[in-house]
């Protein structure tokens, strides 16, 4: 792969993206504009996250890529292959082993630890966009810490549906200053951002923004005094494969019997639990 520089980008591009990243870390939750590069994949397919990953990756890094909780979906595999081919680094599915984790729609179930970096792909970085369509105005609103719009959107949901019905991307207040879109992770993952051990970086390639939650930063999900923030409940359900209970689950309908069952959304978490079971019970693998 001598046709490419290490990690696809030229050094100048990587440096520019890292400069924006440093600024983002210095101002938690603030959206830093950056010169989003042309990529070999289309904008909107994770280019923001990929640019962050490529700008940060070093020869010692171990990469994990997740798409909707799965390590093996097309998008995740392609991104892994691109980074692998242009850097020669190793990819893993084991969360604890990875130094750099790029993800779309999920934060892994295994708590992240110090030294790890989680890169999230963001389609719409502006939490106030549905309330105010002008970028000029939303910038002013952020500058003046005027976030009535974010609460108003939650209020409207309560009026319409009786509770806060954000399916994903529930807005959070970072370090008591900036309201931030946490990327389309389920509400279930929002609390994992609060005082996280790992550095969390968020990149939006199409919208040309980078923002960050540094380790140990306070992240609070927006809520009202009488309508508290709640995560999706998985009470009463357990994973059909590994039996896990307090995790984010996918619901399936059995095609023949028509019954519903649940599985861990985080496939590598499920797999490692299954492996451990096999080891503990010493079930003969070949029957």
């Amino acid at each position: 792969m001598s046709a490419y520089n290490f990690a696809f980008f030229d050094e100048g591009s990587k440096r520019e993206i890292r400069r924006a990243t440093l600024k983002a870390i210095a101002i938690p939750g603030y959206q830093v504009p950056f010169a989003s590069r042309e990529m070999p994949i289309a904008r909107g397919w994770g280019t923001g996250g990929l640019q962050l990953t490529l700008s940060l990756v070093g020869k010692e890094d171990v990469l994990k890529v997740i798409d909707q909780g799965s390590d093996e979906s097309v998008n995740a595999v392609n991104i892994k292959k691109l980074v692998g081919k242009t850097t020669g680094i190793r990819a893993t599915e084991e969360t604890s082993e990875a130094t750099l984790i790029q993800s779309r729609h999920r934060i892994p179930e295994i708590p992240l630890s110090e030294g790890q970096i989680l890169v999230l792909q963001v389609p719409l970085p502006e939490p106030l966009r549905a309330y105010e369509s002008s970028e000029l105005v939303t910038k002013k609103l952020h500058g003046e810490r005027e976030y009535s719009g974010a609460w108003l959107m939650l209020f409207e949901q309560i009026m319409r549906y009786g509770n806060m019905s954000t399916g994903a991307d529930h807005p959070v207040l970072v370090h008591d200053r900036y309201v931030m879109a946490p990327s389309p992770i389920p509400r279930f993952d929002n609390p994992k951002m609060n005082r996280s051990e790992a550095l969390i970086l968020l990149g939006a390639g199409r919208e040309k923004k980078v923002y960050a939650v540094p380790p140990h930063t306070q992240v609070v999900s927006l809520a009202f005094d009488d309508y508290l923030f709640q995560t999706e409940s998985s009470a009463g359900n357990s994973c059909k494969l590994c039996g896990a209970t307090d995790v984010f689950m996918d619901e399936f309908v059995h095609e023949e019997t028509g019954e519903t069952y649940h599985q861990c959304n985080d496939t590598s978490y499920c797999l490692s639990r299954l492996n451990r079971k096999v080891l503990h019970q010493e079930v003969p693998l070949n029957g």
């Binding site: 005027e146 009026m159 009488d226």
Partner: protein, 281 residues
């Protein structure tokens, strides 16, 4: 001094111009202006040296032809536009010692959300047409720091009932409403924080006569019940006669006459006011 004798809002020497001005219109007497327009550089002097006081519980009317600077003045007072120069003091804000035009953007927002309410002629400017009516009212309450859904819902319901919007329509978006209903939702929104000062900009223009009457009735009733001070802008002398205690007449960006409403209507002094009053059928 008694409470009702201290002005609630004092406006001093407010100027608003569009354009930088040139040697001709800045140096010399303003005689060179055609109405409020400089023929040399094209600068428009919308508000020139406007000074007035608003007392507690008072309704102040501003009349004048279109283009006389009434709405510009209102926009400046609500911080929709910045003034070129001038001062404004609100008694309940920092003891009336801070010029509100020179406060930071955040402080201006505070004043807007806590002390002022405004009803625009065009409901599009004052409402979010795609949000529910009760959400529109909540927006102002949220901006003022309220974070209790139950309380905001009760307040919104009470206000909408007050302005005769049926309860079963309060979760509907204003875009589904008639012009008169939209205007009433706007009034409810403006009143949501019990602002001591309410700014009404041509609220009844464009509404049919019976709706006009009911909106005016409502304003009059609210003003008496809540004892709020109102500045009402209109080019309709009928509206002014019905509502205003005191009236200012504006022409070409200047106040040409002011006094008790009866006095202005019965004994107009300035030629323009005379013409205006005589044109009243």
């Amino acid at each position: 001094m008694d409470d009702f004798m201290t002005p609630l809002l004092s406006i001093k020497n407010v100027n608003k111009q569009f354009g930088d001005g040139c040697d001709t219109c800045l140096q010399q007497e303003k005689d060179v202006l055609i109405k409020n327009f400089c023929p040399v550089c094209g600068t428009v002097y919308s508000c020139q040296d406007i000074t007035f006081d608003l007392y507690p519980g008072e309704v102040l009317g501003i009349v004048g032809e279109s283009g006389s600077g009434k709405s510009t003045l209102m926009r400046c007072l609500y911080f929709d536009q910045d003034v070129t120069s001038g001062e404004a003091f609100i008694r309940s804000y920092k003891d009336g010692k801070a010029n509100m035009f020179e406060e930071s953007a955040q402080q201006k927002r505070y004043i807007r959300n806590h002390v002022l309410g405004k009803v625009y002629q065009n409901p599009l400017l004052g409402l979010r047409m795609n949000f529910s009516s009760i959400g529109n009212i909540a927006e102002k309450l949220i901006a003022a720091g309220n974070r209790n859904v139950g309380h905001m819902e009760d307040r919104g319901r009470a206000l909408l009932t007050h302005v005769n919007i049926p309860t079963y329509r309060m979760k509907e978006a204003p875009k589904n409403f008639s012009g008169g209903m939209q205007q009433r939702v706007q009034i409810a929104k403006a009143l949501s924080n019990n602002p001591p000062i309410l700014l009404l900009d041509e609220v009844t223009t464009g509404l049919d006569l019976s709706v006009q009457a009911s909106v005016l009735d409502l304003i009059k009733q609210l003003q008496r019940e809540l004892n709020i001070s109102i500045i009402i802008v209109s080019h309709d002398l009928g509206v002014i006669r019905m509502l205003a205690d005191r009236t200012m007449v504006m022409l070409d960006g200047k106040v040409v006459e002011q006094g008790l409403t009866d006095q202005i209507l019965e004994d107009p002094q300035h030629p323009y006011t005379q013409q205006l009053v005589h044109s009243l059928v």
